[in-house]
Subunit: 190 residues, 2 copies
Amino acid sequence: MALAQAILTSLLEKPCTGAELARRFDKSLGHFWQATHQQIYRELGKLEQDGLVRAHGLAATRGQQRHFEVLATGKAALESWCAEPGEPRPIRDELLVRLRAAAVLGTVDVRVELLRHQGMHAQTLDRYLAIEANDFPADAQKTVADELQFAVLRAGIVYEQSWLNWCEQTLSHAPAIQKPALVEVWPPAD
Amino acid sequence: MALAQAILTSLLEKPCTGAELARRFDKSLGHFWQATHQQIYRELGKLEQDGLVRAHGLAATRGQQRHFEVLATGKAALESWCAEPGEPRPIRDELLVRLRAAAVLGTVDVRVELLRHQGMHAQTLDRYLAIEANDFPADAQKTVADELQFAVLRAGIVYEQSWLNWCEQTLSHAPAIQKPALVEVWPPAD
DNA sequence: TACGATTATGCAACTTGTTGCGCAAAGGAG
DNA sequence: CTCCTTTGCGCAACAAGTTGCATAATCGTA
């Protein structure tokens, strides 16, 4: 639901084509809101229909670049959405379902997967920390806009840190979780 | 994608009807994996078609209770899925899009929304902590299964704590974020 | 010029999750 | 018994996200 607003925000910063948007999403915005190019093109189509953005090169043929720009109505819509209340997303990580299943089954070693996740979260955290060091040095003066963008980055940082923390803690607290030497005999459930 | 596995897990613990499953999801499993009753019924249908679960009272008429039970193939499928590697979910919170938009717009006060989220995360954290105090007292002996279930709960706890932390930090670091006294004149974007 | 790779755009089909509604059985109140 | 509410089950439609493929321009190169 926030894809349209993310696109509007990005287009407000700088009007561009759909492909350029997709590329920008892969970089900055994509850290916390991913979108494929198909999603973006579809959403751009809706936004255009709703009169929130305008295509500059309005070629209806394929393969032709279409340059998009936010209209005043689009900016107003973004402003009004921005002030709306919203619900925070609960955790919804497959890994937790796997742990729950492993608890019931009792025959699966989850430590390998925990180590994998630990590594992935560490890698993502490093990426975020590199961005922080690069774009938000501690001694720099920050405008209000900088402060807000930094807050978004910090959300990513604390998110990854907390997962990392949890992985370590879980690995150390649960060293006994392992597959038994012999797999149990096929259980006749029916 | 993990809904089928979550259902299998819950059914393995105790066979039951779809409605009972939905109720259980609202309690334990629902803390980290939500599902409406429609999702659950649809998924149960697929699982039955695939021969992973069996309906006890196989009444095809509406309004009739159908009691579900995991078959051996279902347990095997769950075991094999459980050992598969998976990707961690990146953050994807609308609030971050709002902050990003606010940074670009410069006319929206985000502190109210930050306070709201702070309150909601605090509330969820309290729920989790109550469960911890109730089900996982520090001095109790834990089996491997207990340890795993506790790990799942701790994931929820650190998740909420990190958001809470971030809210506080953001609110204190960015006290200057506010709507200007006068809204700027309508900008002619076209 | 012709050919192939790249870039930009888009369609179609599918999965997952959400919302709103409808229908049937069960059980209590009048 | 009849009416009404609750409970269990399910359909239909939609929104959001993913995957695979198709088509048109563009550009370098043989």
